[in-house]
Structures are given as structure tokens and as C-alpha cells.
Symmetry: C2
DNA sequence: GAGTGGTCTAGACCACGCG
DNA sequence: GCGTGGTCTAGACCACTCA
């Protein structure tokens, strides 16, 4: 931070106004992180593109490279950005070959997920609907607001394994069609980035064991006494804004849900 | 350690001998991290105790404070130590009040885990046994090696919710008794630290939906048609050595398994 | 060889906890 | 007021990528 007229904010923000009760000291690198985050949100750099070099950003924000570095370190730890030595720092995307299907934790008992390949998708329906009370609450909408409801089956090696319903805010996903859902190659979340500019950043899952009803059992080709994993996922974009509610039923006779605890 | 003859390695290790094929460049802070890790393993500092200050360690290893800092940062990220500003850096322990039951992801539908309080434990049995092929493989033992098998029920608010079996290497857990399992207040993993010097550092879980057999159903007070979550956990100490295989059946009518995806 | 991220250092100062 | 971790800087050099 140095000698020229302060156009960037940090210089001023250095001494935050002492809030009544919570002093809320915020280190410089956190403020820088916030600024970069804002640019990410506003789409100044698109998924897959590189962001400016650390030196450039340091110049832009009038801080040292080390401070920018620490800000980017955190963004990288949150998977918002990917660092590649010698090349640059890139906006993370679900279209990456490496961490594809980042949020899908279902693995095959035999072999590994790579040889199994991507799931075959069958879209059962995709239509506009009104948000029920619970869907509205999850997506931070009002009951009755327009949502998109999609239902589909994912099969691995020809075996139907996942039956899921997706609820999306009608606002952000206006025009989403069954064709779009079915035809896009690669992760659905990559399609959301490309077609709707919506980037899923993190998600929570609530998991239960359940028995399917008759229709669900038929869709998955199992009996009604076959226990299934019920996975309710709430996915968020930037700013912790919920953007997708997904309810899945997973068969766990050929696959298992994997979780690494630290 | 400071102005004396260099017994610490890093100064010498600074220029690693170039291995035949893989140069395997290892940054200084990684080497420091390894040294600290070794001290943790060897019990130079016990769980809950503080480790030397960054300055002290910097002196001991003859590197700058920043380098020690980065090493400790990684250890903290892996939950092996806990930093407390103004106080020091402490060896992590499962006995901490804050992150108690770190590996238990089952949450109540109503209210939160704190008001629910710790589970009531009923130890069904705890005895020596011979490792079956699959248990031996999981624990990196040989089939027929001695293991400890414990079975217990955990209840929340008086409702039996978890039925689980624990397999432990006989070597490390010699003498573990049902009384010990039942009487210790707090996480079982904290008892393992205290009584056996075994610290669980991370774990993997494989989750499936299953139906209980008659005995299991009775233990949990549910019918045989009640789907349950089967949670197979493999817990590791330092060095990725597996030290516990745990197979649990979770009721998910009053609780759910929570997972945060990043 | 130029440019990018990655490491390392040395020193200054800040926030926090505690006696 | 002291010691601890936390932040910030400035500068040097290293490893990697690509033209």
C-alpha cells in the first residue's frame, strides 16, 4: 500500500469504524478476498478463464503480493479458484476433467468411477411448477413462486441407480428444457454455468435410509422392500444463496456413498 | 537448539540428493512439517498439551518463523493441532469440548446436537476374537490375528439409535474391557488417547441402506422392515495406519446423516 | 527467456490471553 | 507488560510452463 491516490478501497478500510459491540477486525487479506470474490460473482472472469496474476492484483489493490497470495490461498481452499504453477490462477468450473462430479459421492463396489464412466441420463420430465412450502423454504423463495422441477434417472453400466428430482428457482433457470437436460454432455452443473451463469460452490446433504414407493421402485427396477439411500442436497452459489434442491434415491447394492472425515 | 553443532537435519537436507527418476522436490516447510509430525507421533507432546512456540521451533530447526508457520498451518488444516491466538498451538484431542464427536455425523431432526447431549451407551460385549479375512484386510492384519470386538448401543433421549460393532487391533488395545468402554465419560476416541495412546486422525466411511436382521431390529427396537443406514468406518492414526473398523446401523427416522460438500 | 505461482527470509507491527 | 499467534511487507530465489 503506498504512494498514489487511493482509488481502491483497502487503504481506507484499513481502520474499520469500530462497530458498537463487535469490533469485527478484518485483516487486509480478507478484504482483498472479498473484492476478488465480488469480481468472481459479477463475472469479471468467467469459469475456466484465468484471473490476473498475483502481481497484477497486488498492483490493482495496492497491497503486497503476499497479501493477495493469502487471499487467493483461501479461495483455492474453498475450490472457487484453481492454482496452476507456471500458468496462472483459474476460475474453477464443474466442467474440469479432473474433479468432475465433485458433489456425487456414490462409488461403485467394483472398479473405480473412471472406468465406469459417466452416467446415462434419462430425463423423465422437466417443467415449471409452484414451490411447495418446504421447497420454498429451502430455496429462500415464497410458497407458490415459480420453480423448475426436473426428474431423471441415472444409470451406470445400463443399471438404473439414481432416481432424482431437481428443484430450481424459476427466475434464474427460465427456459430450462428437458432437451437441454438430456443433450448436454458432462456434469449438469457445468451446463448450469454455461447456459445460466449459475455456479454451484458448495452443498449440504442430508442422508437417510428409506423404502421406495411403488412408482419409485419401478423406476429403479427394484422391489418395494429394497432399502435405498435418500439424499437431500441443497446446493449454493456465491454468498450462500441456495440455488438447487435435489432429492435423490440411490441404490446401494452395487454402489456405496463415500465420505472422508477429517 | 541454536548455536550448537547442527544435529537437526534441514540445513543439510536443504539440497536433497537428486533421486534417479523422481526429483521429488520437497519444500523446506514440508520437511519441517514431517519433523513436527514425527514428534507428535512419538508423543514428545501429549494430546491437549501445547507444542513449542513458532519462534522456539524456528530456532530448533534453524529456519525462519514463516517456514515453521507454514508447516503448522498445514498440520492445523489437518486437525492435528489447534492454534489459539495469544495462547499457543496445542496437540488436538478428541476430548476437546468444542469439536467433540468429530466423526459422528448423525444429527437430530429436532433441535441440535448440543441440547440433545451425549449418547447413553450400553455395551453389549467386549471380547478378544480372531480377525476374519475382511476385518484383517481392513486393519492391515493377518487373518486369525487377535482383535478386540466390542458391540454397543447408543441412545439419544432414551431412544436406541445406533447399534455398532468396533474391531480393534489386539496388539494396541490389549486389555480393553467392557467396563472401560462403559464407564468413560466423553468420546470413546478420547478414551483411546488416554488409555492406549492411540490417536485417530482421520477416517473414511462407506454408507449404504440396509434392512436389519431380527437380532439387530430387536436391539434397536424397530421392525425388520425399517430401513437403516449402514455406516462402515475405517479410522486411521498417524501415517495412515488403520486402527479401528467400525460397523454401525443408524436409525434415520429421528436423525439424519449430515455431510457438507465443498 | 519471460511470466506465473511457490518458497524462504527478516523484520515490523497487531490482536489476543493472562498474570 | 509480556509472550503467543496473526498480519503485512519487500525482496530474493526456485520450479514450472510455454513460446
Amino acid at each position: 500500500m503506498s504512494s498514489l491516490p487511493p482509488t481502491a478501497t483497502p487503504a481506507a478500510a484499513r481502520t474499520p469504524a469500530p462497530a458498537a459491540v463487535a469490533p469485527a477486525f478484518s485483516p487486509l487479506y480478507q478484504q482483498i478476498k472479498g473484492l476478488i470474490l465480488r469480481s468472481l460473482q459479477e463475472g469479471e472472469w468467467k469459469p475456466g478463464e484465468s484471473i490476473p496474476s498475483e502481481m497484477d492484483l497486488a498492483g490493482r489493490f495496492r497491497v503486497s503480493q503476499g497479501t493477495v497470495r493469502k487471499a487467493i490461498d483461501e479461495l483455492a481452499a474453498e475450490n472457487l479458484v484453481i492454482r496452476r504453477q507456471g500458468k496462472g490462477t483459474f476460475v474453477a468450473t464443474h466442467a474440469e476433467h479432473q474433479v468432475q462430479y465433485r458433489f456425487l459421492k456414490l462409488l461403485p463396489d467394483q472398479g473405480d468411477a473412471r472406468e465406469e464412466g459417466p452416467a446415462q441420463r434419462t430425463v423423465l420430465e422437466c417443467r415449471r411448477a409452484r414451490a411447495s412450502a418446504d421447497v420454498a423454504r429451502a430455496l429462500a423463495l415464497r410458497t407458490g413462486d415459480t420453480v423448475i422441477l426436473a426428474r431423471r434417472i441415472l444409470a451406470f453400466a445400463g443399471v438404473p441407480t439414481i432416481l432424482e428430482e431437481l428443484w430450481l428457482p424459476g427466475q434464474a433457470f427460465k427456459g430450462l428444457s428437458a432437451e437441454q437436460m438430456a443433450s448436454y454432455q458432462g456434469p449438469t452443473y457445468a451446463m448450469f454455468e454455461l447456459e445460466f451463469g449459475v455456479r454451484m460452490v458448495r452443498a449440504d446433504e442430508k442422508i437417510r435410509a428409506v423404502l421406495p414407493d411403488a412408482a419409485q421402485a419401478q423406476s429403479l427396477g427394484v422391489s418395494e422392500t429394497t432399502p435405498l439411500l435418500s439424499v437431500e442436497r441443497l446446493a449454493y452459489t456465491y454468498n450462500d444463496a441456495p440455488m438447487e434442491l435435489r432429492r435423490g434415491l440411490y441404490r446401494t447394492d452395487t454402489h456405496y456413498y463415500f465420505n472422508a472425515l477429517n
